[in-house]
């Protein structure tokens, strides 16, 4: 099983780089890294944290409803982001998790925001938890619903923002992610107007990033994209991030989830 997964990841990575001539000399390394993914250690840690009584209310996350019912994690992430009546908002896996950490465990939202992205001095609990929760949809197909009006609105807002050009670089997401085989320096850029490549992206986040020596979620990915675009700091769990994630994940519906991914 594990061996098979490595193989799939490696093939997918090669496909992702499309017609880029740089694919071949890089392929060996990508496959070697994909076969043994340190991100698995975040999944294990997230599992431990999920069932542990934590926070001021000393509660586990077993009552957290990710859309399939309290504590039901199997396949939940495959259907996120979606609308939740209790928060009257569309939430992705991470914003939903944080709602539960605040409501059920009593953590302070502002404190979570400060530590949600780990660094070389400190591992993040949130990143580990997201890795674990997302991994419970492994092997299942992405199936993000559009039924509530807010889901439609969020999805369309995400699409709009994907194409919205702004800031000193005049960039929107589309300018780096609109054509096949493109790179910034030697960083391959998936073409997110191509459904196959979009599926490859949405089914492999969260991912372990070698450059970060850390597991990262879409929150981090989008934040760094905006940083490179010379725009202000993307607010943690902001509606911008949920909207873009809604757009990407829904576009990627049908992709078989296999997380954590391994990326550069």
């Amino acid at each position: 099983m594990l061996k098979l997964r490595g193989g799939i990841a490696a093939i997918a990575l090669i496909c992702l780089s499309g017609s880029g001539h740089a694919a071949d000399p890089l392929a060996v390394g990508r496959q070697m890294l994909a076969e043994d993914n340190p991100g698995e250690m975040w999944v294990d840690r997230g599992k431990k944290l999920f069932y542990e009584k934590r926070g001021p209310k000393s509660a586990s996350l077993e009552k957290c409803d990710f859309g399939m019912g309290p504590g039901k994690l199997e396949g939940a992430a495959a259907q996120l982001p979606r609308y939740f009546a209790d928060t009257d908002s569309v939430q992705d896996v991470e914003s939903r998790l944080v709602s539960c950490m605040v409501e059920q465990q009593g953590f302070k939202r502002a404190d979570i925001a400060k530590t949600a992205m780990g660094n070389l001095d400190r591992m993040s609990d949130v990143e580990a938890l997201v890795a674990f929760i997302a991994s419970k949809s492994n092997g299942m197909k992405m199936n993000v619903p559009l039924s509530h009006q807010k889901e439609y609105d969020t999805y369309k807002a995400g699409e709009y923002i994907f194409y919205r050009r702004n800031g000193p670089t005049d960039f929107g997401c589309i300018n780096c992610h609109g054509e096949n085989g493109k790179r910034i320096r030697l960083q391959d850029l998936p073409n997110m107007t191509d459904q196959k490549q979009m599926q490859e992206v949405v089914s492999t986040w969260p991912a372990y990033l070698g450059t970060q020596s850390n597991l990262r979620t879409m929150q981090w990915r989008l934040k760094i994209c905006y940083w490179q675009m010379r725009l202000p700091d993307l607010a943690y769990l902001s509606d911008v991030s949920v909207a873009i994630t809604s757009y990407l994940n829904h576009q990627g519906n049908g992709a078989v989830i296999q997380v954590p991914g391994v990326k550069r």
């Binding site: 889901e151 609105d153 369309k156 807002a157 702004n166 030697l186 940083w227 010379r230 202000p232 909207a243």
Partner: protein
């Protein structure tokens, strides 16, 4: 036959209509309104930095969604705005020092915002190598834009070519409306003087860009 078709339609369409009646994709104007308010509140920014999120007229025109194309009127408006934005260096000299330009071309930093603070850098880089192949021997280069190898060797280094190159870097949309290339001069990312150095780097016969 007609009846049968009608019946089949009612079965297939009716549930869709019911759903659509409650919730549906918002139209373009509504989407725009929602998305713009999402953008406004989605970043934590000082008032000064928040200005970067506000689109100018050209950026608005260039944000076509999906496979939508620019109309000829839109394209010419973008070109017109771009042409009007171009300012030339006070010295009047459009080709500066290619060695300075070389450093700028490979410098991908400057002007980024992190934790509310503007990146500390002596000057902004010209960002060229992020997206363009420059020296064919250098492999750490992007390919979003076309290769610049031999740029001057192919085009010469006449005054007219210097002017074209300068304008192209200052505001690429004067020639290619809504292209991926940032309007490096118009946005203030590069100064006119910095651009003259990059021009020299691209067209000077001594520059590695034009050496075999």
């Amino acid at each position: 036959m007609r009846i049968k078709t009608g019946w089949a339609w009612s079965v297939v369409v009716a549930p869709v209509l019911i759903v659509a009646g409650c919730a549906s994709l918002p139209d373009a104007a509504t989407t725009r309104q929602i998305a713009e308010s999402v953008v406004k509140t989605g970043f934590s920014a000082t008032p000064e930095h928040a200005k970067r999120l506000v689109q100018d007229r050209s950026q608005q025109i260039c944000s076509t969604i999906g496979s939508a194309k620019l109309t000829p009127e839109e394209a010419s408006e973008v070109v017109k705005l771009a042409r009007a934005s171009i300012q030339y260096p006070q010295s009047g000299k459009l080709a500066g020092d290619w060695k300075v330009g070389a450093k700028l071309a490979y410098n991908g930093s400057g002007s980024r915002i992190s934790g509310g603070n503007l990146e500390k850098a002596k000057e902004n880089g010209a960002l060229c190598s992020n997206c363009h192949v420059i020296d064919p021997k250098e492999f750490n280069v992007g390919n979003i834009g076309p290769s610049l190898t031999g740029f001057g060797a192919q085009r010469g280094n006449s005054e007219a070519m210097a002017k074209y190159t300068y304008e192209k870097i200052y505001n690429a949309w004067a020639y290619f409306p809504c292209s991926n290339m940032p309007r490096l001069g118009s946005s203030g990312h590069l100064t006119p003087e910095q651009i003259t150095h990059v021009v020299a780097f691209l067209i000077d016969p001594q520059s590695p860009v034009n050496k075999k």
